[in-house]
Amino acid sequence: MLRPTWRIRDLRVVLVGIVFIAAWVGIGYRLFQVQVVEAATFVADGEDQRIRVEDKAAKRGTIFDRDGIELAVSVDLPTVFADPALIDDPVGTAQLLAPLYHGDVAELTERLSQSESRFTYVVRHLEVEVADRIKTAVLDNKIEGIYFQNEPYRVYPAGDLAAQVLGFVQQDDQSGLEGLEAQFDHLLTGLPGKQVLERDPEGRPIPLGELLIEPAIPGYDLRTTIDREIQYAAQQAAADAVVDTNALAATIVVMVPGTGEILAMATAPTFDPNDRSTIDIAAVRNRAVTDVYEPGSTLKVITVAAALDAGIVVPSNSWNVPAAYEVEGKEDPYTDVGREEDRMMSVAEILMSSSNVGTIQIQERLGNELHHQYLDAFGLGQLTTDSIPGEVPGLLHPLEDWISATAGASTAIGYRVDVTALQMAAVFGTIANDGVWVEPHVVSELIHPDGSRDVTVPRQRPVLSERTAEQMQELLQGVVEQGTGRRASIEDFAVGGKTGTTEKFLYEEGFYSEDDRIASFIGIAPIDGPEIVVAVVLDSPHGEIEEGEAMVELQFGGVSAAPVFARVAEAALQALGVAPDAP
């Protein structure tokens, strides 16, 4: 056996080995530090630099008409965007892409040239075919830095139908700006989901990065009470009325008196929410709820109804109605249009001929307190509902402000009170609905993402006795058949209603206009078994039309607004399939 010998020079080599062991043990210790002891900090650093929590937008709810047809719906449309830092040839890229979507080459070149920016839209919300053409061009020419993504886009398939009711969204972020889109924005939007994305330093997604997605909860759908056919007819009638009567604007509300459902709410001029570039901001207002006016003669209905309901008069009571009637504190006496002699008139005749003096006499018997009570019960000076965006309450002075002697008189004939067309529709709806006021509404159901529904239950309150309501219906029928509202009559149906003409109060200037009038007609059809209430309000109709031998002035509600009522009521009854009255 060979005796191993211990040599000093071996020790040097062994020392080298020991140094190696020490070095690797040191590295091992350090690895333990980094990978275990301090790992949490580095894990956090890594997550910070690559994990992005992004909102995943929820699908915005759809707005339907009463039959479930889409009036406002969100679709995904392709959008093209670019990272200008990666675009080598902005000019060439713009020249290639811009013509594909009929865009401006120079403008796109400029945006693609801003290489310090990492994001710019090329073009948004394209038709799919156009996006495909751009995709092909990008692939064929191997252009770097152009990306595609679907973005939600709000579409209004029925164009301008009920545009002021629906409103519209801001397409950038799909937030509701006007109308129901704004009023119910929080419900339509839904809850955005959370999307955890891992991205590389250039912001590109890491494909195998775990995508923890907290799903977005889609928004509620809204089912409205709008009837497309009646809405369309009302819009046409409003548009024509503006032209035919040289008016600034026309507002029409069609309501079902028993339920408060708004079948149509039309405003002219209008707009197409799909084409935002052409929107006139004045046309966006839903005038039926945002614009107040002094109702004038249509409010005499409340004066008379209150007196009947309180048992102060009966329709056949008659008395002498003087040609001119002095009220303390008013310089000129009250008079009636077209009547210059005293006359014995019944309550019915007073309403039929829309006598100011007669109505003031009734109000004097009624007294301010009762009168105010009824006005309040009919919902004046209050919001009718909380479901119609932009509504204003109007103005009904509190009783303690009815100090001057003219307060009661003015209010009796529809001045000193500010109303909206919707409020007046509800007033006539009360008469049509056997004396029960029903909250008008445009949203019939909120449809939850899970399919369950919240059905709108309108508020109701009795205002008049059934008997008073019936008496009022008869009186209103008389107005159309023998009084100021003759132009409101339609074939096959008996209707009732009331005309109104007031001087337009210029709210901004603070005084009454000399030339402009608010002409209105609010009616019920058919008067025996009411199905609809139609309110027509024309802002500043002008001119005259021929009637028989004479010329009549369009500024009067009976002349300009009553025929519009007739047209809309006829169309609505037909659309609803209401059987004509027996001959």
Partner: protein, 392 residues
């Protein structure tokens, strides 16, 4: 028998009693190396797949396939190294060294500049890193000098001048590229050869201190190196600036934790960690396989180091011993410098991890070195057998 039983004497007694031992020691060396090459290929497939696509190669395994080819060429080099009798390097040390010097000069003249350094010569589709050849030149040159001058080594001048001339010429040329990491690596290996030789200990340490001083001066001489050193020393480094690389590397390692995020699931490779497939591949291994994997890798390097030391101890002559010590130091220091940089115990120097990092020249050179070590081991055992036969 009162012989003190130390591990070495034990090893020696095994070596002499259980022949043939060269086969076992060859296996002990080859096995960790082969495993390291395989780990490297796997890590490379993951680390480079993103890079390959981002750089426009249609095949995401482009780098992997190329490295597979290098590993094949490396195997050829290994066999070649194992076949050439190592004593031939003693005779050919000077020509080899001179060829290495010429390679370094050529690199400076016609070399390709990448990332601010001129380290590669392009010959058609192949790029050659002459410094790998120069490393071998230095090791054989020093082993030769210190063997031949063994009897004069007590005199400082006999030690200093040859060593200084060898190191100075190669180091100077390397610093012109500049390649500070390789310079440090060669100097450290030279120091170990010197330490293992019969040179006086105080001479060895005198030279070592001088080399450290020179290295320190060079380290701070160039602004970019100074930045690396200061960012390394900075306890609160700018992780978006100078400290970005190493911070990303620590993030990758830390993310790996105990057992890693799984093969192919590295996040760092998605452009967070630069040079993920080359200088920082160890971080990818640590991220995908965790502490378990990184410990495995350093254990394999430790095995290579210890087997190398054992081969040196068993070498039948001084040249073989110094050669083995130098070569194993080269491999070990290169691995230490690389991993030390990745785990932030050393500054980043841009040295690849032997057997693992992407790169052809390094792979072939490193496997050739393994072949030479095997050759030293084999010829030693043959000699010992003969010796044993004579004494029996």
């Amino acid at each position: 028998m009162a012989t003190r039983v130390t591990p070495i004497t034990k090893a020696r007694s095994f070596a002499t009693t259980r022949e043939p031992r060269s086969g076992r020691i060859t296996v002990l060396l080859l096995l960790p190396v082969v495993v390291l090459v395989i780990i490297g290929l796997g890590a490379l497939a993951s680390a480079s797949s993103v890079l390959a696509i981002r750089e426009g190669y249609s095949d995401n395994l482009f780098y992997f396939k190329r490295q597979l080819l290098f590993a094949g060429l490396g195997l050829f080099c290994l066999i070649l190294g194992a076949r050439i009798p190592y004593r031939w390097y003693q005779r050919a040390a000077l020509p080899i060294f001179v060829v290495g010097l010429i390679g370094l000069v050529a690199t400076l003249v016609v070399g390709d500049v990448r990332g601010g350094a001129q380290r590669w010569i392009e010959v058609g589709p192949v790029t050659i890193q002459a410094s790998e050849f120069a490393k071998f030149g230095v090791v054989s040159m020093l082993a030769m000098i210190l063997t031949r001058k063994a009897s004069y080594l007590t005199t400082f001048g006999h030690v200093f001048w040859p060593v200084a001339a060898t190191l100075g010429s190669v180091g100077g040329l390397l610093m012109l590229q500049p390649d500070f990491g390789t310079t440090v690596l060669i100097s450290a290996s030279a120091f170990v050869i010197l330490a293992a030789s019969s040179a006086k200990v105080r001479h060895v340490f005198g030279l070592g201190i001088a080399a450290l001083a020179a290295g320190g001066m060079l380290a701070v001489a160039a602004p970019y190196r100074l930045e690396r050193v200061t960012s390394f020393l900075d306890s609160n480094p700018d992780v978006l600036g100078d400290g970005y690389h190493v911070h990303q590397s620590l993030v990758a390692l830390g993310t790996g934790g105990w057992f890693g995020v799984g093969l192919g699931a590295s996040r760092a490779r998605w452009s967070f960690l630069p040079n993920a497939h080359s200088d920082f591949i160890f971080a990818i291994i640590g991220e995908e396989t965790g502490l378990a994997g990184s410990f495995a890798v350093i254990s394999l390097f430790l095995v290579v180091a210890l087997v190398g030391v054992a081969i040196a101890l068993r070498a039948r002559d001084q040249f073989g011993r110094l050669m083995a010590v130098g070569l194993v130091s080269w491999l070990t220091f290169q691995a230490l410098v690389n991993i030390g940089g990745v785990v932030k115990v050393l500054p980043i120097t841009g040295v690849p991890l032997p057997f693992v990092s992407a790169g052809g020249s390094a792979m072939m050179a490193n496997l050739f070195v393994v072949g030479v070590l095997i050759n030293i081991a084999r010829l030693s055992s043959v000699a010992r057998k003969e010796q044993a036969g004579r004494t029996a």
